[in-house]
């Protein structure tokens, strides 16, 4: 019972961290702060525009693969203890 609770709590901690990044990269950089970021240019891209049409999508892909890695590690840890 206790082991399961730690497993679940660690999972929830990962979710909070990853979903915060998810929110900041898309709703933050791509929508709420887009005008401020557009002042910065990266090559031909205005940064806010780039996050809205490119960057946020790359971040999403990376987030899921990080989650896969973290959870596989967590699963392995609890499997050995069981």
């Amino acid at each position: 019972m206790k082991i399961e609770n730690t497993y679940w709590n660690t999972n929830l901690k990962y979710l909070v961290i990853l979903l915060s990044i998810w929110f900041i990269a898309s709703f933050g950089f791509g929508i709420l702060f887009v005008d401020a970021l557009n002042e910065i240019k990266m090559g031909g891209f205005k940064l806010g525009f780039w996050f809205a049409q490119q960057g946020s999508i790359y971040v999403f892909v990376i987030l899921i693969f990080v989650y896969i890695y973290l959870m596989n590690r967590l699963d392995a840890k609890y499997k050995t203890k069981e």
């Binding site: 679940w8 709703f27 929508i31 031909g44 525009f49 946020s56 987030l63 989650y67 609890y78």
Partner: protein, 554 residues
């Protein structure tokens, strides 16, 4: 070689491939029919999910829509990809752990009530039917445009193909044809994109190319912004919608994506929980290839279009202009009779109307690419439309045969008869979808986008709380789903079809468009569910242990 021959060859080869796969992978049990036997490899499932997900609209229309809306089009890019993060982190692994066949299965079991199951079936059917009618129409349009048959014949051909592999193969047949369809559609999308990127910027990667400089040394995006300002359009790289509305539309599309039954059900087909997580990652990676290329195509084709037509003599335009004019997708009216094309924002002076679909369909011709590339586009567009239609069909047939007949009406039904019922309902659903494809209700285009709002307002809260809250009970979940979907239906029929007194943009509640309203309805769903569940008894011990079990590691 003649274009028409190329098209017949490309379409013929890809269709025989799909049919061959269907015969090889036909389903013999309900488990194979509903979830492909539950042993699909995560990468294969990722590809199938991507093909399932990317419809004719993603393939044909999205780049065009972005091309005309610039930054405002970002809602689709972020909305239709960001949902996979929610899916991977909040839904897919737990639903796989739960291990049944359909979304109403989960709702019905977790909320220990056939009433909840019934509501979920109702929501699944509404969402899937609004979506599939648009797909069959897409199939018809693509057939008629490329094979030069009329739309009805096109829809009928499409129906026969889908019928063949969905009814025969069930989820198993659909999964492996979708893998093939993904390969066809992504190849067809990328080849012209890479060619055009090389032609316009000298960079073979479109994602980088559209931030690079053109042959004149000016950054492409700066040039496009300048052209837009000159012609009176809104600047390409900045928005014209309110921040609140952009925020809510993006959220509704994301949450709706995560709540769409035909997407969720794909995660029931893998062997274990870790595979469900993996296939969500692969699915998004495969989707991202197209979704990061689309905004590049949007910029290339927008610049190309303006430079080719603006203030040019109509008589001297390249051949594709006239060809697409005859299809009605390009309309030109020389208002001031000067023989030049005035393409500007002001509707009084503007002489040119270009349909958004042109941007992808005519792109190879505009960029003077060889005929086989155009044929490839036809095969790709058909793959996109067929794969999505098949995935939706399966949800509809499983809702009827499994959730309605097996779980509610007649639990004693044998597996053999359930399988027959599944095939019959798939058959019925194809006929109905085909009917809507031939006689599209005027609101099809409008409702496809709204299907996301409906999914967001109904399923997402019920599933998420079913996993993350042990206190959520059947009273709360059912009242939340009912209020959520009715509120969304009310708002969309009021402002889209003029029911309940109708209304204009001025009357929108808090300035929220119907597309963004799903976010609001979802919030209401959450609030109603929580309040009602606090006032009613908590779920029993059995449900508590069911939730514990879903959360446990493998």
């Amino acid at each position: 070689m003649e274009l028409q021959y190329w098209i017949w060859i490309a379409v013929g080869i890809s269709f025989s491939l799909y049919i061959g796969i269907a015969i090889w992978s036909r389903a013999s049990s309900t488990k194979e029919f509903y979830v492909a036997g539950g042993g699909v490899h995560p990468i294969a499932n990722g590809m199938a999910t991507a093909a399932d997900w990317m419809s004719a609209a993603s393939f044909i229309s999205m780049a065009g829509i972005i091309s005309f809306n610039g930054y405002d089009g970002s809602v689709y890019l972020m909305g239709w990809t960001g949902g996979y993060v929610l899916l991977a982190l909040l839904l897919a692994p737990y639903l796989r752990k739960f291990g049944k066949f359909t979304v109403p299965d989960f709702i019905g079991d977790r909320y220990y009530s056939n009433y909840a199951r019934g509501v979920a079936v109702f929501c699944a059917l509404i969402v899937s039917f609004t979506y599939i009618a648009g797909q069959m129409r897409g199939v018809g349009v693509v057939f008629s445009r490329y094979l030069e048959v009329d739309i009805t014949t096109g829809v009928v051909i499409g129906m026969c193909i889908v019928l063949f592999y969905a009814v025969l193969g069930g989820m198993k047949g659909i999964t492996y044809t979708q893998v093939a369809q993904y390969c066809v559609l992504i190849f067809a999308f990328m080849v012209p994109a890479v060619f055009i990127s090389i032609i316009m910027t000298g960079n073979a990667i479109p994602q980088i190319g559209f931030g690079a400089t053109g042959s004149d040394g000016v950054y492409l995006l700066d040039k496009l912004d300048g052209l837009h300002r000159e012609l009176g359009f809104h600047e390409y790289t900045t928005g014209s919608k309110s921040t609140l509305d952009v925020f809510l539309i993006t959220l509704a599309l994301m949450v709706g994506t995560a709540g769409l039954p035909h997407v969720i059900v794909r995660f029931f087909t893998v062997k274990k929980v870790s595979d469900a997580r993996k296939s969500a990652g692969w699915a998004l990676l495969f989707i991202a290839i197209l979704y990061t290329t689309a905004p590049a195509i949007a910029v290339f084709s927008r610049t190309n279009l303006i430079e080719t037509v603006s203030n040019k003599e109509h008589a001297n335009l390249p051949g594709w202009f006239e060809k697409w004019q005859t299809t009605g997708l390009i309309k030109f009216e020389d208002k001031n009779q000067d023989g030049l094309i005035q393409y500007v924002a002001d509707p009084e002076i503007n002489e040119l109307i270009v349909d958004a679909d042109i941007m992808v369909l005519a792109n190879p011709e505009i960029a003077k690419l060889p005929n086989w590339v155009i044929a490839l586009m036809a095969a790709g567009a058909l793959a996109a439309a067929l794969s999505t239609a098949a995935g939706l069909l399966l949800v509809i047939s499983a809702s009827v045969s499994h959730d309605l007949i097996k779980k509610i009406i007649n639990p004693a039904v044998s597996e053999k008869n359930e399988l027959i019922a599944a095939r019959l309902s798939a058959f019925g659903a194809v006929l109905l979808a085909g009917y809507f494809g031939v006689n599209p209700p005027g609101f099809v285009a409008a409702t496809v986008a709204l299907a996301f709002g409906l999914a967001a307002a109904s399923f997402f809260p019920a599933i998420v709380m079913g996993i993350f809250s042990k206190r959520m009970n059947k009273e709360g979940a059912v009242s939340g789903m009912v209020v959520g979907i009715l509120l969304m239906l009310f708002y969309m029929t009021k402002f889209k079809f003029g029911w309940f007194g109708g209304g204009t943009n001025e009357d929108w509640w808090f300035g929220i468009s119907p597309e963004g309203f799903g976010s609001f309805a979802m919030l209401v769903n959450f609030v109603v569910s929580i309040i009602v569940s606090k006032l009613t008894p908590p779920p029993g011990q059995e449900i508590q242990s069911l939730i514990e079990n879903i959360r446990k590691p493998n």
